[in-house]
């Protein structure tokens, strides 16, 4: 009898596209969670969601952020981050990342990092680490559109 190969045993990290046009639909997140129901070795899901905040800059409220990226470099960097994450947390079962491009209104979701693992610690630590790495290392650019029509280029601090 052939041994059963579990998904977790084959960790090949092809360059996958994390980018989605427009906001991340909460229904998509719910469906992502539901897809893991068959993976009964998972005991913990950890999800970070980024939402566009209506910051007030010089008295003008941010209405939306228009995201763009240097896609090839971003996906290459993301593959490296993913590989490093699975090296640091080998017990992690899976890791899903999505980031919006285009215009995302205040209150809409623009970023999701979703890790699952048998136990909570690795999923939680991995998500926090991956979120920070993506913010620091991925060439993603954000134009904050303010009320009245102007814009300000966002920068992560």
């Amino acid at each position: 009898m052939m041994p059963t190969i579990r998904m977790n045993d084959v960790k090949t990290h092809r360059k996958r596209d994390i980018f989605v046009e427009g906001p991340i639909d909460p229904a998509f997140i719910a469906a992502s969670i539901a897809k893991h129901a068959t993976r009964t070795d998972i005991g913990s899901h950890e999800i970070f969601l980024g939402q566009v905040r209506a910051d007030v800059i010089d008295g003008r409220t941010v209405e939306a952020i228009e995201y763009s990226t240097y896609r090839d470099m971003a996906l290459e960097r993301m593959t490296a981050i993913r590989e490093e994450a699975f090296t640091k947390w080998p017990g992690m079962t899976c890791l899903h990342v999505h980031h919006s491009l285009g215009t995302i209104k205040a209150g809409e979701l623009c970023f999701m990092v979703f890790a699952s693992a048998p136990h909570r610690h690795s999923a939680r630590e991995a998500v926090a680490w991956v979120v920070d790495r993506i913010k620091a290392d991925l060439p993603i650019f954000g134009k904050e559109i303010v009320e009245g029509g102007g814009h300000i280029w966002k920068r992560n601090t």
């Binding site: 990226t69 290459e76 913010k135 993603i140 280029w153 966002k154």
Partner: protein, 74 residues
Amino acid sequence: MKVLLFGLIAERAGTPTLELSAASTNELKVRLAEHIEGLAALTYAIAVDHRMVIGNMPLNGHEEVAVLPPFAGG
């Protein structure tokens, strides 16, 4: 070489690409400043073949060169 511009840098240049020749990233910065008004006052980094350049680096003209303003993902 074709130089890719992004975000604020592309906006200031009025184009997403520039055709420039430079033998190093330091020389490229001089060429960029000639084409993009006010570049000296902006924060940006140069990426060569998807890697951020620290200091100066020679260029042979066959690399993929990009000018990147501060990142804002998340």
